[in-house]
């Protein structure tokens, strides 16, 4: 199962009681959101609305289909905008 790390700078930790690392049965970002919502109600929406996912260093934003693989480095980080 892929291991996902909730970046320490995110608001998501308020849903998890401080837990930052999860093993999640998910092969896509969408499935990850659903699983997190199931495990920590409210977190899935938080992740979907305000967070990006970095998979092996590449940042994906608003990408349900982003593929999660066991062994990949997976971080949930604040979504990035710009000026």
């Amino acid at each position: 199962m892929p291991k996902v790390v909730l970046s320490s700078g995110s608001a998501g930790q308020s849903f998890t009681g401080g837990q930052t690392e999860f093993e999640v049965e998910a092969t896509t970002f969408r499935r990850l959101i659903l699983e997190l919502e199931k495990r920590f109600p409210g977190l899935g929406r938080q992740v979907e609305e305000s967070m990006a996912i970095a998979i092996d260093g590449e940042i994906f934003q608003d990408a349900y289909a982003a593929e999660l693989k066991p062994g990949s480095e997976i971080y949930l980080i604040p979504k990035i905008g710009g000026g």
């Binding site: 608003d62 990035i80 905008g81 710009g82």
Partner: protein, 755 residues
């Protein structure tokens, strides 16, 4: 398809810019140039108080003034609920946006919109504003960030509780959010450090200072159809926000993108459009609104001012073993400073084992902040890169060597989590090392500073269409307002794919009813993301052209190849046919299947991060404190420069804005919380004589996730200048200037204090 290793004929060249003639001859149509029959002028009445309860608003005298057709207040807008969304250039609460566009109950900063009028002339509108009677209960105000964080500070919002702390607070606070990033064990790292430096730095809020003030022309037709002409970084953003704030359906709003006179992030919000719609709806007439420069300063958002505390610990050999940072960002009157990226960007250039960053998002009685190039990164980097310079001095080490020793490379794990991939920071530092500027001896009395910077860059949603005209010429349309040369870059990528010259392709920005959704022009995303959509659309057109040639020759499409703008039979077995060019294929498009075009929408991922390094030489007049920029070189990894002149222009522009941020720009408030320098005479942006020729050096480490290898380029160049200049002043005078702007009075005072 990937063209990174291809032999390119158009991409990488420097054709004449497509918007150049219109702009230099004054023909380009900006929002302020638009007119409509029977048009009224809309004007906004703004709060003179930094913080006040609105007791009453009496508009009767204004409404009775001949020529006045409509007056609106917050009562004319839906009282919408709090709703968080990430729809513009960052997290946005629509209720806050609504309250920022038109105050309801409280004025939260001087310049906050209280009411608006529409009248037949500007003079009548101005007179009507004077006739609106607003009764205020003036409240204590707070301007500076640390004062706003104090326990006894006046509270702006009774319903704002600090997020990101446990246990959840029970009392409201001006601290909207606390964010933390940790990697390793910073305290343990400092314990093993041989050398430690600490510093406290401050930056001022600075305005994007786009030359064109906000403007729009709105027509609310009797059937409820709304047409908006506006200058912005995203006409789809204007449509969405206006619809949301007024409770309208988006299909009833059509936004036409006017030519834009600069944005730099500041036009990723709305201020006027919903007000103009409300006035037009009430008056039944078209309404034109345009801010004065004073209104731009008082009523629209600058970027945050901040305090930055930095601590670095290193071994004697220069290896940094620990880093700490505390950032306190002003958000203005509503939450939403760029504190997240501020916390993430400061140390992103370095490979650090132990990092601890804490950031605070703090509201105070100032205009709500807006995005500004690489939001948050220049602020955090001013502190970090100044501290890096101090560390180099304390270590007795060359500042470039210190950075080389600790530079992030592919595989470096950042303090915010992800590992860097496909980055070119070491290539940038190598370019610094070999550059004649870095190698040249310093002139007598001059000082030299070096600073680096990072920005993520983003992708996102974009739509592009490519049409083959009946004569074989090409139109490429996108939904991205052109702020930094995207019409050129997109047209060039389309031309490259089609095998024609750049002049053969006309690129336009289509309105919201004429092309699919496209996210704002920001985050350095357009050449990357919209360029990706345009490239794919051009590839689809090529596929279609090959089918048309196959139909003409009556051979299988697999037997056709496309080269240099023409269809050829793929080898002798395909048949002996004369090549067909675009004009020939377009001429027969009806017979071969109809119009030839393609539209592609993408949600682009894989934007490559950008890194830059700036070298600055200064001289300091010790009598006046004036700092003169003597030489400036900006080096940046740009992936692939599609149109190098535009890329150089972006880098020069970012550096010039950074020079203003470093040396002169600041908001000056009086004791009542009113801005005292709301104009370019007193808010001093750099003028031509302040800025030398900035040499832009393009390092091209291709981004493999873009068909041509492009990375965003527009934001990185504003990140290093403030620290590069501060470090140069330190080199010239021996004085560390920790507070921006490093204006003549401050520099003179520091010289005097040093004796």
């Amino acid at each position: 398809m990937n063209y990174i290793d291809s032999s390119l004929k158009v991409v990488g060249t420097r054709p004449i810019r497509p918007d150049g003639v219109d702009k230099v001859t004054g023909r380009a149509v900006f929002a302020a140039d638009t007119r409509a029959s029977g048009m009224l002028w809309g004007k906004i009445k703004r709060s003179p108080h930094a913080h006040a309860r609105i007791v009453s608003i009496d508009t009767s005298k204004a409404e009775a003034l001949p020529g006045v057709r409509a007056v609106v207040t917050s009562a004319d807008f839906p009282d919408i609920a709090s709703e968080e969304a990430f729809v513009g250039e960052g997290p946005m609460n629509f209720r806050d946006l609504s309250l920022n566009v038109m105050a309801r109950g409280k004025a939260l900063y001087e310049g906050h919109a209280i009411a608006a009028v529409a009248a037949s002339t500007q003079a009548i509108a101005d007179a009507a504003l004077e006739l609106i009677d607003v009764q205020y209960e003036v409240l204590p105000h707070v301007i500076e960030v640390e004062a706003a964080m104090a326990p006894d500070a006046p509270i702006l919002h009774d319903d704002l509780f600090t997020a990101g702390v446990t246990p959840a607070p029970t009392k409201p606070s001006n601290i909207a959010k606390v964010v933390t990033f940790k990697k390793g064990d910073a305290d343990a790292g400092f314990a093993e450090a041989d050398v430690i430096v600490e510093g406290r730095y401050t930056t001022q809020p600075v305005h994007q200072a786009y030359i064109e003030p906000h403007a729009c022309l709105v027509t609310y037709a009797p059937d409820g159809q709304i047409t908006i002409h506006a200058s912005s970084q995203g006409h789809f953003m204007i449509r969405a926000y206006t619809a949301k704030l007024l409770g309208l359906e988006m299909s009833n709003i059509r936004v036409n993108p006017a030519e834009i006179g600069g944005g730099f992030g500041g036009k990723t919000l709305i201020y006027l459009e919903p007000v103009a719609v409300a006035l037009s709806r009430k008056s039944g007439r078209s309404v034109k609104m345009q801010m004065t420069r004073e209104e731009v300063f008082r009523g629209s958002g600058p970027t945050s001012g901040a305090t930055i505390e930095v601590k670095l610990g290193a071994k004697k050999d220069g290896t940094i073993v620990a880093a700490k940072q505390v950032l306190k960002f002003q958000a203005g009157a509503f939450p939403g400073s760029p504190i997240g990226p501020g916390c993430m960007c400061g140390f992103a250039m370095y490979d650090l084992p132990n990092v601890d960053v804490v950031g605070y998002d703090v509201v105070s009685n100032r205009p709500k902040v807006a995005a500004y190039r690489a939001p948050g990164a220049p602020i955090t980097s001013f502190g970090v890169e100044s501290a890096m310079d101090e560390l180099a001095i304390k270590l007795g080490m060359d500042p470039l060597t210190l950075r080389e020793k600790n530079a992030a490379t592919n595989g470096t794990k950042t303090h915010y989590g992800p590992t860097h991939v496909n980055i070119g920071f070491t290539a940038v530092l190598a370019a610094v090392k070999s550059h004649p500027h870095w190698k040249s001896p310093l002139k007598e009395g001059h000082g030299r500073g070096l600073a680096t910077g990072f920005w993520f860059n983003i992708g996102g949603e974009s739509t592009a269409t490519v049409h083959v005209n009946e004569d074989g010429s090409i139109v490429a349309a996108t939904g991205s307002p052109d702020i930094g040369g995207s019409r050129a870059s997109i047209g060039m990528m389309v031309a490259e794919v089609l095998g024609v010259s750049a002049q053969h392709v006309r690129t336009v920005v289509a309105d919201t009813a004429s092309i699919g959704y496209t996210f704002v022009t920001g985050g350095s995303r357009v050449t990357f993301a919209t360029g990706m959509a345009a490239t794919q659309a051009a590839e689809k057109v090529v596929d279609e052209l090959k089918r048309r040639a196959a139909a003409t020759w009556d051979i299988p499409v697999e037997a056709v190849e496309w080269k240099d703008g023409m269809a050829y039979p793929a080898g002798s077995n395909a048949g002996a046919f004369e090549p067909l060019d675009l004009a020939s294929l377009a001429l027969k498009q009806a017979r071969t299947g109809g119009p030839i075009n393609a539209e592609v929408s993408v949600n682009a991922q894989g934007a490559g991060a950008g890194f830059g390094a700036h070298i600055c030489d200064v001289s300091v007049d010790k009598e006046t404190g004036h700092v003169k920029i003597e030489r400036y070189t900006a080096i940046q990894d740009v992936g692939k420069a599609i149109h190098p002149s535009y890329v150089e222009g972006q880098i020069q522009g970012g550096a010039a804005q950074g020079i203003g941020w470093a040396l002169n720009e600041e908001y000056i408030y009086n004791a009542k919380g009113q801005m005292e320098n709301a104009g370019f005479l007193d808010y001093r942006v750099p003028v031509a004589s302040d800025v030398p020729m900035i040499e832009a050096v393009l390092v091209e480490v291709p981004n493999p996730r873009h068909p041509f290898g492009a990375r965003g380029v527009g934001e990185v160049p504003i990140v290093p200048p403030m620290a590069a200049i501060a470090n140069a002043i330190r080199s010239a005078t021996g004085l560390r200037m920790p507070d921006l702007p490093m204006s003549p009075p401050k520099v003179r005072a520091a010289i005097d204090a040093a004796g």
